[in-house]
């Protein structure tokens, strides 16, 4: 694979090079002879769809997995990386997409873990704290070493992760999808920190699937698809459409086709809803909004601002401790899921493997997961296997689920097809009045994303009310007729999509107040 030269800037030495890396997982060739290099002081973006092999490559470099073939060269020397210890010793640090922090530990304990400072056998917490304060001041990170990590907002947790790498004197920092949990402004802040770091000689690998970000921040961009490197380019010589094409391998329509559509009366009415989480903390405070038939209301917000608890309260998975929920005029506050479903809810849950599916059940069983007790699936308490099979065959063809048969376990399907099983089950129900879709496309390939988006719009066009919850601002903006922004458990703004901008939404997501539009 030929590399395009870095055109404009002065070439700095290569600090990290991966050569012909190949990694086979059961059933998947995750990395197929991948070449990749990183120069000192640059931000090298690694772009690709979910499942393209970006994270695998980074896990190989970081020592969490071992390549079947290929070598890794750091500062000109081939290094044998058997575990994260070796990569840490080689000056590599990694900020994982799912933070590798222990919630019950303090910041200092998390930072020192694996590289503890001790004094006469005891942990020397004071020295570690001083060191954290020093790093924190130097890079403007602002973390308190004595705070319990579980109590910190995600943005701060990410900074703790960065401190962790700097504490270990990392010269190469890998950031895996770091902006997924940030507001646009927080992302800007992160980019500033990243530039700060590169200014001090740190080299950064920036993994993402967001086109705008790579163009904004990267010095070089390497695009991966299906385990192979497609190309390496510099931002100045490319654009979003070209990158998207490289990522997916075909033309991608970056906007969702959506006709203007008149909304009808209120279907979902939420009035003063308050919800507590497992720990008993109130994470949704006094939230009120309505969703009309034939419209999509998007709930924007950084992950962890109460969206999960809100959707759980609306769908009956969690009991609210204040306020009311009405669907089509029927009071469904604190009602169990079955009654809410019967009243016309279709629910695409946030975590499809945890809530949406029983992985060791067949596709057919999963497609009747919520309706097994009703005719035709059940007759006086006895399961009617024939009806289940028939239903499954019908839905598999109607929703284009790629499965060898209805009797394959759901766990054997790809993520996209698993999500399609859920979508098929939920949207095919006869009486659907309201769809609540929580992160419906997280972790999916572009084809599946497009398909699910079109299904959501189809429902809207049929006059169904849709509540879309997503941490992807682009998704919210593409699908929603109106957008509500959630911040620290409150709806801080509700606006029509046409009358707002990314930047404005970003400000609200970060807590800026607004008049409800």
């Amino acid at each position: 694979m030929a590399k395009k030269p870095v055109s404009s800037e002065v070439k700095t030495p290569i600090v990290l090079e991966a050569k012909e890396i190949t990694k086979q997982f059961p059933g998947v060739l995750a990395n197929d002879s991948v070449d990749f290099d990183l120069r000192k002081g640059e931000i090298h973006a690694l772009l690709g769809e979910n499942g393209a092999g970006k994270s695998t490559l980074m896990n190989l470099i970081y020592g969490l997995h071992h390549p079947d073939k290929g070598e890794i060269i750091v500062n000109g020397k081939t290094v044998a990386i058997h575990s994260p210890n070796d990569s840490i010793a080689a000056g590599i640090g990694m900020v994982h997409q799912h933070f590798m922090l222990i919630p019950v530990f303090t910041v200092a304990e998390n930072v020192m873990l694996g590289d503890e400072i001790t004094k006469r056998g005891s942990l020397d917490r004071a020295t570690v704290a001083a060191r954290i304060n020093e790093i924190s001041k130097q890079y403007g990170l602002d973390v308190d070493p004595n705070a319990i990590v579980g109590d910190l907002p995600v943005g701060l947790q990410q900074r703790v992760e960065i401190v962790k790498t700097l504490y270990r004197n990392a010269e190469i920092v890998i950031l895996d999808e770091p902006t997924a949990v940030l507001t646009p402004q927080e992302a800007e802040d992160l980019f500033r920190i990243m530039r700060d770091l590169t200014g001090r000689g740190v080299s950064i690998i920036f993994i993402t699937h967001k086109l705008k970000e790579v163009l904004a921040v990267a010095d070089r961009i390497t695009v991966m698809r299906a385990g192979r490197v497609v190309n390496t380019v510099v931002p100045a010589e490319t654009n979003e459409a070209q990158l998207a094409n490289m990522m997916v391998g075909r033309q991608v329509i970056l906007t969702v086709e959506k006709k203007d559509h008149a909304a009808s009366g209120d279907i979902l009415k939420v009035d003063g809803l308050s919800v507590r989480d497992q720990r008993g903390l109130e994470t949704v405070h006094n939230v009120s909004f309505t969703v009309r038939g034939g419209e999509v209301l998007g709930i924007a917000g950084v992950q962890g601002n109460g969206q999960t608890e809100l959707s759980e309260a609306l769908t009956g998975l969690r009991e609210p401790h204040g306020g009311n929920v009405f669907i089509d005029g029927q009071d469904l506050t604190s009602k169990p899921p079955r009654i809410i479903t019967a009243a016309g809810l279709a629910h695409i849950p946030e975590d499809r493997q945890r809530h949406g599916l029983v992985m060791s059940y067949t596709v057919a069983d999963n497609m009747a997961l919520c309706d097994y007790y009703r005719p035709p699936f059940s007759n006086r308490g006895v399961i009617q296997q024939k009806a289940l099979d028939e239903n499954a065959r019908k839905l598999i063809s109607a929703f284009d689920v790629r499965t060898p048969s209805p009797f394959v376990n759901a766990g054997k399907l790809s993520g996209g097809n698993q999500q399609k099983v859920i979508v098929a089950r939920e949207l095919s129900r006869s009486n659907v009045k309201l769809v609540i879709a929580n992160q419906p496309t997280r972790g999916l390939d572009v084809g599946s994303i497009e398909y699910i988006h079109s299904e959501i719009i189809k429902m809207r066009d049929r006059g169904v009310a849709v509540l879309l919850i997503s941490a992807e601002l682009d998704e919210i903006m593409a699908l929603s007729d109106r957008i509500a922004v959630m911040y620290r458990g409150q709806i801080v703004a509700i606006v029509e999509t046409k009358k707002t901008t990314r930047e404005q939404l970003g400000l609200w997501m970060a807590g800026a107040h607004a008049e409800t539009a």
Binding site: R354, V358, S360, L369, G381, N409
Partner: protein, 375 residues
């Protein structure tokens, strides 16, 4: 030609799936028996003679077969109790206590009801009453643990163990007190004999195997049907495999946890009841030591499948029953049987060891039987 080939491959597929399912348990038993043989040899015994005694004692005569069936009867019920709980994601170590409670309850109905009423009842009323009361008490006893699990998250493993102690102490209290057999010759803690109308008749004259054995087989089939063919079974299995998804699907998870525990307790209670009404005709302290643990091994060996449980119960019954003959021939202690059973359980639970010894590749996904303290 074509169709013959197809049917051929279908038969082969079925055979394949049956042998896949039973291969590891079979090899686990084989390995455990060999390990047991080596141990017998090491302590200076004669393994062949011991195993011959075991087989003679369990299958060698009509009487031996009958006795094996007698042993298998409570084992099937108790094994099903543990297996059903496993299917619902619960680990019921409390079969022992539930069994004792069931036995006490049915013996109470068996001996005290006619006295209390002042007249004899016909068998068609009295026997079912005795059985149902025992079964219900077992169910209620276990559902306490289910309710604690559902509403407070108290882990069923610890709670069933505690309930075992409570059951044994309470039973001792009752059998030494109000329920003690007051006949002048009796000095030990046991109830009076139950009335003839509360006894399950034997199947054959002169043999102890009774209709409770047939009932056990029927119940095993019933449990299979319940689990695989009914909406209740669907709910139990869904809660067992993924309680979050079950809640999402509109299943009342708390209710199902309590119900699963209750059903499990009812089966365990049945094991106690059947011993009282079919065999001993009274409840006596010291009876049923270790059935609860044997039941766990049986459920695991049977892979929680009702048919598997029946087969495993038979194996354990044969070993326990044959132990008498084995002792007579070789003076090998009964503990040997416990040890072989522990090895069987070890090799079944850690099928990876068996797969490693015999170089068999793993198939399918890991089945989660229990969850940590939090779940």
């Amino acid at each position: 030609m074509q169709s013959e080939k197809q049917s051929n491959s279908l038969t082969r597929q079925i055979l394949q799936s049956v042998s896949d399912a039973s291969l590891v348990p079979f090899l686990a038993i084989l390995t455990a028996v060999v390990v047991g043989g080596v141990i017998i040899k090491l302590v200076g015994g004669d393994p062949i003679l011991a195993y011959r005694g075991l087989i003679q004692g369990s299958f060698g005569s009509t009487k031996a077969l009958s006795e094996t069936a007698v042993w298998a009867t409570p084992y099937i019920f108790a094994g099903l109790a543990v297996a059903l709980a496993f299917k619902g994601g619960l680990f019921n170590i409390g079969a022992e206590g539930q069994l004792a409670v069931g036995a006490v309850a049915s013996s109470l109905v068996g001996y005290a009801l006619p006295e209390w009423l002042g007249y004899d009842l016909p068998i068609v009323i009295h026997l079912p009453l005795a059985i149902i009361f025992g079964v219900l008490m077992g169910g209620i006893w276990a559902s306490i643990v289910g309710a604690l699990k559902a509403y407070t998250g108290g882990h069923e493993v610890i709670n069933t163990i505690m309930m075992n102690y409570i059951a044994l102490n309470t039973t001792s209290f009752l059998l030494n007190g109000v329920m003690k057999d007051r006949s002048p010759t009796n000095v030990i803690a046991r109830t009076p004999l139950i009335a003839d109308s509360a006894r399950i008749p034997p199947i054959f004259d002169g043999l102890r195997v009774h209709w409770g054995f047939v009932l056990a087989l029927l119940v095993a089939f019933l449990i299979w049907w319940l689990l695989n063919k009914t909406t209740l079974g669907f709910q139990i299995r869904t809660v067992g495999l993924n309680p979050d998804a079950a809640k999402y699907a509109g299943i009342n998870v708390k209710r199902i946890i309590i119900l699963t525990m209750a059903l499990s307790g009812m089966l365990a209670g049945m094991a106690g009841t059947i011993e009282v009404t079919g065999l001993n005709y009274r409840h006596e302290l010291g009876f049923s030591i270790g059935y609860g643990y044997d039941a766990i091994a049986i459920a695991l060996l049977g892979k929680s499948h009702p048919l598997g449980v029946v087969l495993a119960a038979f194996l354990f019954a044969a070993m326990r029953n044959g132990a008498t003959r084995m002792q007579f021939l070789t003076q090998m202690p009964v503990d040997l049987i416990s040890m072989i059973q522990a090895f069987i359980l070890l090799f079944v639970a850690a099928d990876a060891i068996v797969r490693y010894i015999y170089r068999i590749k793993a198939k399918g996904e890991r089945v989660v039987l229990t969850r940590g303290w939090g779940g």
